[in-house]
């Protein structure tokens, strides 16, 4: 039972910090709340006994990607004054559209069916490293390997876009 209470508390905290990402007045604070959200999501993973995913989530998202986010935001010196003005019509349309989406999403929960009753948390080893490794290198080896194409092309692309061209360096 205490696990259920913990789930609710964690869920509430996750939701709250995710909300603060949107509501925070300064972009840097938004990023900090986002980092907090990642921590709470990792907490949820641990409740599902997925320790490996939880810690990788922290290392990759909170520890690397968000650091780069902060890095860029700190250099940009954003503030309320030089923020581009949004037209009132656009604001109104955005409110209506997201309001409708919210209604649809909330309404969809009314006939939620439970396909599997409860998670097997305590004694299954699927979320642990061994189970995950077994699955990734046997059953799901093809998607796992193919995702390396994705990373390779993203890396090549990033280098291609960011690399300074030779002509420019000669001029300097």
């Amino acid at each position: 039972m205490s696990l259920a209470i913990l789930t609710y508390i964690l869920g509430g905290l996750t939701f709250g910090s995710a909300l603060m990402v949107v509501l925070a007045p300064h972009p840097v604070r938004s990023v900090l709340y986002l980092i907090l959200t990642f921590f709470f999501i990792s907490g949820n993973y641990i409740l599902l006994n997925a320790q490996f995913v939880a810690v990788v989530n922290i290392i990759v998202y909170a520890g690397a990607i968000m650091v780069l986010f902060l890095f860029v935001l700190m250099l940009l010196n954003l503030s309320k004054e030089n923020e581009p003005k949004t037209k009132n019509v656009a604001k109104f349309a955005a409110v209506v559209a997201s309001g409708i989406l919210a209604v649809v999403l909330i309404a969809a929960t009314k006939d939620t069916m439970i396909l599997q009753s409860g998670y097997q948390t305590s004694d299954n080893a699927q979320g642990l490293v061994e189970g995950l490794g077994q699955l990734l290198f046997t059953k799901y080896v093809l998607p796992f390997e193919i995702s390396s194409v994705l990373f390779l092309s993203a890396m090549v692309g990033a280098v291609l876009l960011a690399k300074r061209e030779k002509q420019i360096t000669n001029e300097l």
Binding site: Y140, L142, P143, A154, V156, G157
Partner: protein
């Protein structure tokens, strides 16, 4: 599967070859890879023993056909884009490698049997295109196109992922065959499934560039290098539509009462908006962008009226013929010297280079759907099949085809007219002639060979 591996391996090889800074070698490696992959696909074709299922991928005769189409278009675009790619000797191989990687993703996207494989395929397809759209670093419009495509595309991907999560939550599976069975066996479908379908629909309409989600496409088409515009219009759109078909017409076919009305509205809006905007365009690539929005409207008819993989052939013929026209028109657009590619700069094309002018006119006529050309057969098959279920929609589509003829003919007149000023056309590369001849043959006899 072997074609997939060959494509990826030749992409990596091309990158290493590009260290030699000899663009020709990169071209040879890349096109050899594409050629071998294509030949392997041809060998696999109609060979039931080779229909191997992998986790998430299934190579049946339909997916082999689609993969072959992708490989053919990528090969043609690589060849005709060589003149552009080789301008930067250091990066020729990188550009080609990225195109090969992207084609690998497109192959996954037409042969998936699992939602996550579809998602990985979509990402592998899109990310190199985001990059390649911005390769004209000195041109601000190219950078703008890249950024715009990336941001809107990433947002659409997020929506798509949200939709996939919803569908998984409702059905408990990622496999499209099981989702199809779930929809067909359950009488009352969970609302989460509906929300999931809605979100996926929105992001698909975005990816193929249908009206209300079309805003990105004219700017991106205009700013990107012509090769990439061609790639987006021919390959990305093809893969997107095949995946669209596999998911909506087949997997979610049982719930078509729910999503079909939305698609009808979108199809009508796309046809009219695309056509009416295309009439006003003065820029060649923007014209192609708007006309491609119209063509999305026609292709949506196919999504609406088909319900099994057996009759996907007419959608394939439609997209196949459209792809050839696109390859021709964008190859022509590569020849325009000017930075802004106004239609007026095509003046005198047919007089200066009669062969190129002839093929370009063929392509335009085929897009308009003039009878003996390949495009007519594609349109005819889609329309005739849709007529039974949606007669009104087909009539609207035919009216729109009529409107379309106006601006295609206008462009043809510009190409044919006498040029009294300095010509804006570059001297074509020999590879252009090769690509254009292949396309011309396909456009002329394709209708009789494939139908």
């Amino acid at each position: 599967m072997d074609a997939l591996i060959i494509l990826f391996a030749s992409g990596i090889l091309t990158m290493f070859i590009s260290l030699l800074k000899k663009p020709v070698l990169s071209l040879i490696t890349a096109s050899a890879g594409l050629f071998i992959a294509g030949s392997l696909l041809v060998l696999n074709f109609d060979h039931p023993l080779n229909f191997i299922k992998y986790e998430g991928l299934i190579f049946d005769s339909a997916s082999v056909l689609f993969s072959l189409t992708i490989v053919v278009f990528t090969l043609l675009l690589t060849l005709s884009g060589y003149a552009y790619f080789s301008k930067e000797k250091d990066h020729t191989g990188d550009y080609m490698a990225l195109m090969l990687f992207s084609a690998t993703g497109a192959l996954c996207m037409v042969s998936f049997s699992d939602l996550f494989m579809f998602f990985i395929g979509l990402e592998i397809l899109s990310i190199p295109v985001y990059v390649l759209a911005g390769t004209k670093k000195k041109d601000l419009r190219s950078t703008e196109a890249s950024i715009k495509y990336f941001f809107t595309g990433a947002f659409a991907t997020g929506v798509l992922l949200f939709g996939i999560a919803m569908i998984y939550g409702a059905t408990g599976t990622f496999k499209i065959a099981e989702i199809e069975a779930f929809i067909n066996t359950n009488d009352t479908l969970p609302s989460f499934l509906h929300v999931g379908i809605l979100l996926m629909l929105a992001s698909f309409l975005f990816k193929v560039g249908a009206v209300p989600f079309h805003f990105w496409s004219p700017d991106v088409y205009e700013g990107s290098p012509s090769v990439m515009t061609g790639y987006m219009a021919a390959v990305v759109k093809f893969a997107g539509f095949i995946a669209f078909f596999k998911l909506f017409s087949v997997a979610f076919g049982g719930a078509s009462d729910y999503w079909a009305p939305i698609l009808i509205v979108v199809a009508i809006a796309s046809m009219f908006l695309g056509n009416l905007s295309a009439i006003q365009q003065t820029q060649f690539k923007r014209l192609i962008a708007y006309s491609s929005i119209t063509h999305v409207g026609y292709a949506l008819l196919a999504i609406l009226s088909f319900n099994s993989l057996l009759n996907v052939q007419s959608l394939w013929i439609y997209l196949f013929s459209y792809g050839f026209s696109i390859v021709v028109l964008l190859s022509v657009s590569m020849l325009i010297k000017q930075e802004d590619d106004s239609i007026a700069s095509l003046k005198g094309l047919a007089r200066k280079y009669p062969f190129i002018g002839f093929v370009a006119i063929l392509a335009l006529l085929s897009m308009a759907g003039i009878p003996p050309l390949f495009g007519f057969f594609g349109k005819y098959m889609v329309f005739s099949r849709a007529f039974g279920a949606y007669p009104m929609l087909v009539i609207i589509a035919i009216i729109n085809s009529g409107i379309g003829i106006y601006y295609y003919l206008r462009t043809i007149i510009v190409m044919l007219s006498e040029n009294d000023q300095e010509s804006m056309i570059k001297t074509p590369h020999v590879l252009h002639y090769l690509v254009l001849s292949i396309c011309a043959i396909a456009l002329m006899v394709g209708g009789f060979v494939f139908v």
